[in-house]
Each structure stands twice: as C-alpha cells, then as structure tokens.
Point group: C2
Chain length 148, copies 2
DNA sequence: GGCATGTAAGTTGTGCACAATTGAATTGTG
DNA sequence: CACAATTCAATTGTGCACAACTTACATGCC
C-alpha cells in the first residue's frame, strides 16, 4: 500500500491520457475546419455569448493571456473572429464572431455529438463523469496554493 | 436537447480542465525537483521497470518519439537518466536511472500521495474515477480511425 | 550476398500551456 | 489634480504534443 505507485494505477495519469485521447478524436474532424481543440472551445464560448473580452475567454477556458492572445490571433487569421478594442475601456479587447465563425455552429454541434457517442457511454454516464471531474477540479483548485 | 452544447456542460471540456488542474497542482512540488509532469511520468515508469527502450516508454505513456526524445534529453541533462545504445540491436536506445534518478523514488511517492489527498476523494472514489476514465479512453481509441 | 521492407530514434515545424515581464489604460487616494 | 496601485492584453521563453520527415539499422525474400 505504501509501495511506489504504478503509472497505470494512477488516476492522474488516466486523466492525462483520457484528455489527450479525446482531443485526438476531435482532431481529424476539426482539421477539416482548420481548427484546433482550444480554438474550437473559444468558438463554443462565443456561440453561447458573442463579444466576450480576452480575459473573459481566459476565465471561461481557464487559460491565461499568454495562451489566449496568440490563439485568438490565429482564429482571426483564419477568418472566424474579429478583435475590437473596447471604446469605453481602451484596455479591453472584445472578440466577435465573423459570418464564417457563426456559420460553424451547426457543424460544431454535430462534432461534439459524434465524440459523445464515440465514448461508448450513455448520456447519464457522461453527465456523471463530467460532474465527478468538475468536483475533482474544484477540490484541486481550492488546495492549489497550499505548501505540501 | 439539440441546441448548441454549452462549454461547461461538456464532459470533454471537464476532462481537459481537470487534467490541466491536476498537473498545475503537481507543478510547484515537481519544480522543486527540477521536473515537469511528463518527466515525472517517465521516472515513475522507470522506477517500476528500469532500462526500458524509448519506444517502450512511448507505449507506456502514449507519446510518440517526437515528444519522448527531447524529453529524455532534458532528463539526461538533469542527471536523472542515462541513454545507452542497445548492443544487440543498434536501433534501440535503452533508458536507465542514475543514482540521482533512483533516489527520487521516495519523494515521488510522497508527491503522488499529496495530490491524491488534495482531490478530496476517498481511495475508492479515485479508483472508480480512474477506471471510468480508462474505460472512456479505451472506447475512444477503438473508434479513433473511423470517418465521422 | 543484394535489395525491398520495416522498425527505432531523432529532427523539424506548428500550436498550445504557463511563468514572467512589459506597456498602456484605468482607478483609487490623498 | 497627481501619482501609486491595479487591470488588461500582449510578448518572451521553455517545455510539451503531434504530424511529417529523416537516418540508421535490422530483417525477409530471393
């Protein structure tokens, strides 16, 4: 019980592997749209609520500006979003879907459904897994800044 | 039900977030050893069975040579492993723990326990989550090369 | 032996992640 | 008003991930 933990017995490793596996399943479908998974997440966030700020997207995706800024630059180069300096507060940049970005919503919805069905789990099982993972993440984050 | 899926309702997003959160929890502890999480995984694999080949480690961690090779180079530069060209088959490179790398095992074991307890879950809950994730990964991988 | 086929490790190029820093704009306080 | 502190986005630097490619070596088949 106190022996060295084996890699395959670790929940953390299972998490790390599962995350990469599901992104790998998205990849060929998103490739055909010229998107990566994080870029797709940004679009999902904007389909729900267009015109978010850069930091708003960072909060939603739990990513900092060092990740989001270049990611948005590529999405803009791809023609899916536009960035606009906020008139009221010049520090803020709001991100807006283009016609092309908005048009991807239908296809994006199909892709998430394909991935969901590939999991081999029922809707209820997926919900339960999601909730368990979110509970896990919340617990981890509350203990994040503790020494040892 | 057929509406656009919201980011926070997606199991995939929960997975992506949970994976990064737990690696973020490992980070400060591994930093003090000069390790990253993937480097730590390599050491865990070697503590269990020293002298694996590069491709053997890749199979274990589900990473390709493009990821593992430079990672091992950094671990070697850090003084934790050595790479040796296999005498029998000159294509193979075996990876061996140094004294310093082997000595990290005890501390590594403590770190995984700290992370486990930070999850706020019981041992049984963690096992159940791990098994569910591995089931998920297996299902995903079997459907990986299917068009749509 | 000679050569096609396959395999192992490494390299190159792109795109995340994240820490640390920068610079511009805003806000709080005297 | 002045100016310190804060906020926001972007930049820089390091280390994964992964696709595509390269090079060296091994093996199978004639």
């Amino acid at each position: 019980m106190d022996a060295t933990p084996r890699l395959r017995e670790q929940a953390c490793f299972a998490l790390y592997t599962a995350s990469r596996a599901v992104i790998g399943l998205y990849r060929p479908m998103l490739d055909s749209l010229g998107l990566t998974y994080p870029q797709f997440l940004v679009l999902m966030s904007l389909w729900e609520h267009d015109g978010r700020t850069v930091s708003g997207l960072g909060d939603e995706l739990q990513l900092d500006s060092g990740t989001v800024s270049p990611l948005l630059k590529r999405l803009e180069a791809g023609g899916y979003v536009e960035r606009r300096r906020d008139a009221g507060d010049e520090r803020r940049v709001t991100v807006h879907l283009t016609e092309a970005g908005a048009a991807l919503e239908r296809r994006g919805c199909e892709i998430t459904q394909v991935v969901g069905s590939a999991s081999g789990m029922s809707y209820d099982e997926l919900i339960a897994l999601r909730d368990k993972l979110n509970e896990f993440t919340t617990a981890i984050r509350t203990r994040e800044h503790t020494t040892e």
